[in-house]
């Protein structure tokens, strides 16, 4: 199980409470979270299910490398932070 924490900035648009979900990759974990909170999906992922251009994700303090497929590995007990990047104004 991994813990997912969303930026506070998104909370005024759509509720994204901290969540715990199964998964071996960022994709698997996030899809499990979005299955329970489908409205949040479009705030983080674009129409191709890639990470939105001005969003960023950290796994245990390390920024992910695969923004398109979200294939970065997640370990049991990992913490995933979904943040907005400081690009895009």
């Amino acid at each position: 199980m991994a813990k997912v924490v969303f930026t506070t900035n998104v909370q005024r648009h759509v509720g994204c409470p901290d969540a715990v979900a199964e998964g071996h990759t960022v994709r698997e974990v996030l899809e499990n979270v979005f299955a329970r909170n489908p409205q949040a999906r479009g705030y983080v992922l674009d129409d191709q299910s890639a990470l939105r251009k001005h969003m960023t994700i950290f796994v245990d303090g390390r920024m992910i490398r695969d923004r398109a497929r979200l294939a970065d590995a997640v370990a049991d007990g990992s913490t995933i932070y979904v943040f907005q990047a400081l690009s895009g104004g």
Partner: protein, 366 residues
């Protein structure tokens, strides 16, 4: 006549209402958020508001009896594995809604149908008041669609949608840049329109190619659908055959450059524009904010100034920021410098509602 105006701005949606003879801001929604466009569906009174949250993407909201609710946003289909297309700078084009740039209600015979134009060039149709959207693949997959280019934005986009009030299967759209396209069969097939327009930003052999045209705004007279007006990057054009051919209108004071155009609902020869100096100098001539109006199909224009700032005004009025009410009597427009003006006499005189709003992207009578 309409007593309510929705003003979309960089920092929220403002409702302007007529109270007595005064127009005042009576409501604010989405304060702090980027509201790019609204649609009021005259068939059922629903309002739609497009938002761009930047980091979090484009969203669409619909009015209810109890306020606004977020609804589905048009979404692009999965891009085929290994397929790439690129913009004019060679950058990959993401198949994802980058902006909602046009919203139009369908015909009276199809309640709940809404058309939506987007960047990077997808056209969408909803049959359920925006609860779900279907991309018009016949247009997106049209081989010539790949010749569309950025104009008003880095990516190509559909900014104007005209639905024939007599036959809702007939729809015209305009693209910046990509010219005018029409369907006769509710979007099953598309034909390029717009012979006669002229583009200065391409080599001579492409100047008159309809697909190179940077239409800024396309409108159609509801009572006389043969008549279409175009405010184009390189001037003003008028059509008398439903957009098949256009004639350029020249020698218009103070300028033929601008973004918006509106046409009277019953008088096809009457249209309004907000001129800027020119392409490379997008401010009102001599700092005088004016509206130009023709009542004779473009043979002559009135330059309307009463009530508008005539000194050091640098307002730019975007393509969706000039509106005419359904009666054809009241006009309203908003500017990049946060001004909103209303006219109750077809533009002869204007009243400033406010000059302290955030940059105005769209003005619509509600």
């Amino acid at each position: 006549m309409s007593d309510k105006i929705l003003v979309s701005t960089r920092k929220g949606l403002f409702t302007v209402s007529r109270n007595g003879r005064a127009w005042k801001i009576t409501a604010t929604d989405f304060l702090g958020d980027n509201v790019t466009l609204t649609l009021t569906d005259a068939r059922d009174g629903r309002h739609y508001a497009a938002l761009d949250h930047g980091h979090f993407g484009v969203k669409l909201h619909r009015s209810t009896a109890n306020g606004w609710e977020e609804i589905a946003v048009p979404a692009y289909p999965p891009k085929p594995e290994g397929y790439e297309e690129h913009d004019m700078w060679g950058r990959p084009i993401n198949w994802s809604t980058a902006r909602i740039w046009a919203l139009a209600a369908g015909g009276a015979d199809e309640p709940g149908v809404i058309w939506c134009g987007t960047l990077p060039g997808g056209l969408f149709r909803s049959a359920d008041h925006g609860a779900s959207w279907e991309m018009i693949r016949s247009l997106w997959d049209h081989p010539k669609r790949k010749q569309w280019m950025g104009g008003g934005a880095d990516l190509p986009g559909i900014h104007s949608i005209c639905v024939d009030p007599r036959n809702s299967k007939r729809v015209w759209i305009a693209v910046s840049t990509g010219g005018i396209w029409s369907t006769q069969d509710a979007g099953a097939s598309w034909t390029q329109r717009g012979e006669g327009m002229r583009a200065e930003h391409v080599p001579p052999e492409l100047t008159h190619d309809p697909i190179t045209q940077d239409v800024h705004c396309l409108v159609q007279c509801p009572a006389a659908t043969d008549r279409m007006w175009v405010q184009h990057h390189n001037g003003i054009f008028v059509s008398s055959d439903e957009g098949r051919t256009f004639t350029e209108i020249t020698d218009v004071a103070p300028s033929t450059f601008g973004f918006p155009v509106v046409v009277h609902p019953r008088e096809p020869d009457t249209a309004w524009f907000v001129p800027e100096i020119k392409d490379e100098k997008r401010i009102p001539r001599e700092g005088r904010l004016v509206v130009s109006r023709t009542r004779d199909g473009g043979r002559s224009f009135d330059v309307l100034t009463k009530g508008l700032p005539q000194s050091h005004a640098y307002d730019v009025v975007y393509r969706h920021a000039l509106a005419l009410d359904a009666a054809g009597e009241r006009l309203a427009f908003g500017s990049t410098t946060g001004g909103v003006w209303v006219s109750e006499d077809q533009g002869d005189s204007w009243t400033c509602v406010t000059h302290t709003l955030p940059p105005v992207y769209a003005v619509r009578f509600a």
